[in-house]
């Protein structure tokens, strides 16, 4: 039996959703025009007034916002309500440059937490569940978002935040946590720690995990599911748009439903900015149409994904996005070839290695070098040097066919690549360009 948090909204007809979006977009454009001089100026530069936006069909006329705009307008330039009406700020995790701050009114927090509550219900969560939130709390949206969603569903919430992994496992076991929320790399680390403590899937009561805030592969999903004996679900979000819960996976585990009553999604060509037809891969762009304090229109996420409106067996009608292949700024360009860390991870797991790796890019004599450091595992180790080398060569071959370029593989000792309690540092780029 599929669980919903707001069934009427999550399963509304496409016509109803379109009607909500049209009305809310028109109102939001007016709100921004009236209150955000920064965006008004951008509209004026394009010769637009709020009257030009009559429905979602006119959305493509509006100017884009990018991370550069957010930095330029830092801290208050995109604020659309008086500061005294705001109750919270959150900030980006700063993995890709200067921090960005987002503001929330109480109503904005409620929207965000509703979205997270939908995600928890979609994995089967009810008030009878015990939900352990092992995302970081603080400026990062992961902890506060899922914490709020868990409260709304009525789960008993364990706010462990990240870190102290053995204690995490102790709480999971002692308090019978059934749902775990954290980054996928931390979930993998908790699983690894469980193993080293001699604990298997039957030793923990968890049934589901909600793992997001970084790109991860299907292979990693299967690994985590097997280690913990759970179903692992993806969740998507970004601080600029609200936080986790902008989109979430349902029981079908085949893409994430975007909460379209709050956020309108478009896919554009990242080079030309042109809107692409549904089903085409491109950069995801969001317009938040219900938030009041920090309402971004046509914000370029830099995430590469595809949208689909094919009917979902879960009954939800909201559009689904595929797992992002990575942010455009996670994407490495090596010898002119686009490389996503998630592709490398897929090959590693397919060859029997674990997802403990680091990608080191350098430039030697004007040529880019790609070195993938992979931890040796007990399963991949033998007393036979030739066999280890053969496996290493097979991995190099697998990487070459996946990436279309040669990579070096260095096998390193276990636990030598730093473990992450939040977002994993997968790439070390030493190129000085």
């Amino acid at each position: 039996m599929e669980q919903y948090y707001q069934k009427e909204i999550e399963t509304a007809s496409r016509e109803q959703l379109k009607a909500w979006q049209d009305e809310r977009l028109v109102r939001q454009v007016r709100h921004v025009w009236d209150n955000v001089p920064y965006y008004r100026k951008k509209m004026e530069e394009k010769g637009l007034t709020p009257e030009d936006i009559k429905s979602t069909g006119d959305l493509h006329k509006l100017p884009f916002l990018s991370k550069a705009d957010l930095r330029e307008a830092y801290p208050y330039g995109l604020l659309a309500t008086p500061l005294e009406d705001c109750v919270r700020i959150q900030s980006t995790s700063g993995t890709t440059g200067k921090r960005v701050v987002a503001f929330y009114t109480q109503a904005d927090i409620d929207i965000w937490e509703d979205c997270c509550a939908r995600a928890i219900c979609a994995v089967g969560g009810t008030k009878k569940d015990v939900c352990q939130v092992s995302y970081g709390y603080g400026l990062f949206t992961g902890g506060p978002g899922l914490n709020g969603g868990s409260h709304k569903v009525g789960c008993l919430t364990i706010p462990t935040s990240s870190g102290n992994t053995e204690r995490q496992i102790m709480f999971i076991r002692d308090l019978s946590a059934t749902i775990l929320c954290c980054t996928p790399s931390y979930a993998a680390y908790i699983g690894e720690t469980m193993k080293s403590m001699g604990l298997g899937p039957d030793d923990i009561p968890l049934k589901a995990g909600i793992f997001g805030a970084e790109a991860w592969s299907e292979e990693m999903r299967r690994d985590i599911e097997a280690t913990m004996g759970i179903k692992a679900y993806d969740i998507y979000g970004l601080t600029e748009i609200s936080g986790p819960g902008v989109a979430f996976e349902c029981s079908a585990q085949s893409g994430m439903h975007i909460n379209e009553d709050h956020f309108i999604a478009e896919i554009i060509d990242p080079d030309t900015g042109e809107v692409l037809p549904e089903g085409t891969q491109g950069e995801l762009v969001f317009s938040s149409i219900t938030k009041t304090a920090f309402p971004l229109l046509r914000y370029r996420t830099r995430d590469i994904t595809t949208l689909t409106r094919e009917p979902c067996p879960c009954g939800r009608t909201h559009v689904k996005m595929t797992k992002p292949r990575g942010r455009t700024d996670d994407m490495l360009i090596i010898r002119g070839v686009n490389v996503f860390p998630s592709q490398i991870e897929t090959v590693l797991l397919n060859h029997g290695y674990a997802a403990n790796y680091q990608i080191v890019v350098d430039r030697v004599h004007n040529t880019d070098t790609l070195d993938i450091q992979v931890e040796m595992t007990p399963e991949m180790f033998t007393d036979n040097l030739g066999e280890i080398s053969q496996r290493q060569e097979a991995l190099v071959g697998g990487l070459r066919s996946m990436l279309g370029l040669a990579a070096k593989v260095t096998l390193v000792e276990p636990k030598t690549i730093a473990r992450s309690e939040g977002k994993a540092v997968r790439v070390v780029d030493k190129r000085k360009i």
């Binding site: 007990p378 180790f381 000792e413």
Partner: protein, 144 residues
């Protein structure tokens, strides 16, 4: 009868071997024999120790990856032709030697021990035994 060798994965860079010997020293493990096989980036250290169980446990606790491999320990007189005789027996029995290494003397300077990694340890022991060549047990190696 075969004896247990501990094979440890190490990166080929300064200090890694030291890190491992440090763990063994702290735990008072006595190494009877040691051999290294390496590539440019990594290597395998193969050890014969006096206390296999403790050594593999403490190495695992310190995050080393190791496995146990069956090898054959053969006692040979430390004199010309000693090894030749043993290899003849193995070749005669059509047993392939993957690798081998020696340690001399121990507490008696007139003998040597060769460690053989072969495809079939039992067949090797039988063949050597037939020719009266002394095979060492785990206990004998520990106190060699």
């Amino acid at each position: 009868m075969a004896i247990k060798q501990i094979s440890v994965f190490l990166e080929n860079k300064p200090g890694t071997l030291l890190k491992m010997t440090g763990v063994l020293a702290e735990n008072k493990i006595d190494m009877r024999a040691l051999s290294l096989a390496e590539t440019k980036d990594f290597g395998i250290v193969r050890l014969i120790v006096d206390d296999v169980y403790t050594a593999s446990t403490v190495l695992k606790d310190k995050n080393f990856i190791s496995i146990l491999t069956d090898v054959v320990g053969v006692l040979i007189p430390d004199e010309p032709g000693g090894l030749d005789k043993v290899l003849r027996v193995l070749a005669g029995a059509n047993i392939n030697v993957e690798y081998m290494y020696a340690f001399l003397g121990g507490r008696n300077i007139h003998r040597a021990c060769m460690i053989f990694r072969v495809g079939d340890a039992r067949a090797a022991e039988n063949a050597l035994g037939t020719w009266g060549i002394k095979i060492l047990s785990q206990d004998e190696i520990a106190s060699f």
